[in-house]
């Protein structure tokens, strides 16, 4: 078991700011605080080599959980263990075996070529030269870093910088990767590059990956298993496909019609989801997809038909609204 989390709780103490001149002056001497439960009793387990997607809206507690696992935050209650270590004790042996990448933060030396950061990390992690060269060569090839290595980091685009950031974080060949929004702000191509890289890297190294992202495509492309968290509690933990089946017991029949049809005539096929001129989308029960499709072809003036699953975005939204 690589990651074990049992009843994890993390509360923050936040200062209460009151408006007004007098209150601001009073605040100089006495401050009032209130407690915010960022994570409120979360439990899950991750096996070695798994890639797990961590989903939830802003402020759901994803980053807080990740920081607890990386040893940056001390849990208020509950237990977290990674590779058999208690993260917040920050033992050297533990720190050597994982990495944390945060999409909106930067560890590269800004005014120097990325290679300098790589060398700093080599020294910090004590990676022997041959091992370092091998890891570097592999990362340079996978992330196509060759043309970037001698450019100042400040001159790189956001996507290029993220690729260098990933390389810097992986030179010590960690067994566990915590990726917090690694594709934040990147364009579609750059997102795809990062995604492909994480998949290949995890497969090659057998690394365990826990990934948070706002982009559903990241998660659907990489993770077979997802954790959904909201308001600090776990909403779902399991197979992505099972989630789709459980929360969306229907599929979408997309029809292109030859001529206008009255909605009543389509009722036998399925529930009308949307209609845009001759393009109509009907919702049909998952188990009866075939029969309904056949019915549509025989009873309606169909020019073209396609069967789709509802988007994961829609399903997740549904999970969040079922409180």
């Amino acid at each position: 078991m690589t990651v074990e989390v049992d009843g994890l709780v993390k509360h923050y103490r936040v200062q209460r700011r009151e408006p007004g001149f007098g209150a601001s002056l009073r605040g100089l001497f006495a401050r009032r605080y209130h407690t915010v439960p960022a994570v409120d009793g979360v439990s899950f387990r991750i096996d070695a080599g798994e890639i797990v997607g961590f989903l939830g809206p802003n402020g759901a507690g994803k980053t807080t959980t990740l920081k607890c696992l990386a040893g940056l935050l001390h849990p208020t209650a509950g237990r977290a263990r990674v590779l058999g270590f208690t993260p917040h004790e920050r033992e050297r042996a533990f720190l050597r075996q994982f990495t944390l990448v945060m999409g909106q933060r930067n560890q590269l030396l800004w005014d120097l070529p990325a290679m300098e950061t790589f060398l700093v990390n080599q020294a910090i992690y004590g990676v022997p030269e041959p091992q370092f060269r091998a890891a570097l060569d592999e990362l340079v090839a996978l992330l196509e870093l060759e043309p970037l290595l001698d450019k100042q980091v400040r001159q790189l685009s956001l996507g290029e910088r993220m690729r260098c950031e990933l390389a810097a974080s992986l030179l010590h060949q960690p067994r566990v990767l915590f990726l917090d929004e690694p594709t934040l702000g990147l364009d579609v191509t750059a997102q795809a590059t990062i995604r492909d890289f994480v998949r290949t890297y995890s497969a090659r190294q057998g690394a365990t990956v826990l990934l948070t992202s706002h982009y559903m495509a990241d998660v659907t492309a990489l993770a077979s298993r997802i954790l959904v968290i909201d308001g600090g509690t776990m909403r779902y933990d399991g197979d992505l496909r099972a989630l789709v089946e459980r929360h969306a017991p229907y599929r979408l029949l997309r029809l292109t019609l030859d001529c206008q049809v009255q909605p009543a005539d389509m009722a036998a096929v399925g529930d009308l989801e949307s209609a845009d001129g001759l393009a109509v989308t009907l919702r049909v029960p998952r188990a009866a997809t075939k029969e309904r499709a056949a019915l549509a072809l025989s009873s309606l003036p169909v020019a073209d038909v396609a069967i789709e699953d509802p988007s994961v975005e829609d399903i997740i939204r549904q999970v969040f609204t079922q409180r």
Binding site: R17, F21, S24, L25, G27, L28
Partner: protein, 268 residues
């Protein structure tokens, strides 16, 4: 923004500046501490008069009164806007400020003002209390002269603002402005009345110092409130302050327009 609208914007921005100043209370303590630096010089002079009796007509209480007033004056007149200008111009932060309908100069001025009001709210009562308890702190002037001294403090702040801004405009062309300003300020440090009251300088040096802009923001207001200047000397002091302010304002505006043209041409 028209010049007429600026005064109306000040109260709102000042509230914001006050708010952000209050938010960091640790910072407030630090500012208070740094306000006390002139007292170091006071301590040295007290050691000197202990051995020499008096120095150039100043006795112990004279030095105490002089440097307590200097600490307050310095707090209100100092204008640390040069590094902000510098940073804005070099990192491109200026572009953001240019989008707003208020000249960046006022931004910097208000930020300084917010801090000054906050520290002043603590510093002035403290000094008043100290003056009530410690008999050697004495200011033998009437309310009228004290008001003139207050005006001199405000004028000193204004001069420092335009002076620092004028120097900062050179950042459009050079990266070494900070060093240059430090050098300038180093000269001023000595000639402002900080190291010693100007009366204790050799006469030639004193005559030069009185004509330079540095005394306006320290020695001049202090000399007024300690009752060491007659009406003529006060008028002369204001004339010097006014002349330098006008000069630096002119230089600042000219360099600002040219620098901005260059900045926009480079496309930072």
């Amino acid at each position: 923004m028209t010049t007429r609208a600026v005064p109306r914007v000040y109260p709102a921005l000042l509230r914001a500046a006050w708010g952000s100043a209050v938010a960091y209370r640790g910072q407030v303590v630090l500012w208070l501490l740094t306000s006390l630096f002139p007292l170091i010089m006071m301590a040295v002079w007290l050691s000197v008069v202990e051995e020499a009796g008096t120095a150039g007509g100043f006795d112990g209480p004279d030095f105490v009164s002089y440097y307590v007033a200097a600490a307050v004056t310095n707090h209100f007149t100092v204008a640390w806007v040069s590094w902000q200008w510098d940073e804005d111009i070099r990192t491109g932060g200026l572009s953001v400020k240019l989008l707003k309908p208020l000249d960046p100069f006022h931004h910097h001025a208000i930020e300084q003002l917010g801090k000054k009001l906050l520290i002043g709210a603590v510093l002035l009562p403290a000094v008043a209390a100290a003056a009530a308890v410690v008999s050697s702190i004495r200011y033998p002037v009437g309310p009228g002269t004290a008001a003139v001294a207050a005006v001199a403090v405000v004028a000193g702040f204004g001069l420092n603002l335009v002076m620092a801004s004028a120097f900062s405009m050179l950042s459009f062309w050079s990266t070494q402005v900070h060093n240059l300003y430090q050098l300038w300020w180093g000269v001023g440090f000595f000639l402002s009345g900080w190291v010693a009251p100007l009366e204790l300088f050799p006469p030639t040096l004193r005559r030069v110092a009185v004509l330079l802009p540095f005394r306006s923001s320290l020695g001049f207001p202090v000399e007024i409130v300690t009752g060491r200047l007659d009406g003529r000397a006060i008028a002369a002091g204001f004339a010097v302050t006014g002349a330098w302010s006008a000069g630096f304002l002119f230089v600042y505006r000219v360099l600002w327009r040219r620098g901005l043209r260059r900045y926009e041409a480079v496309g930072a």
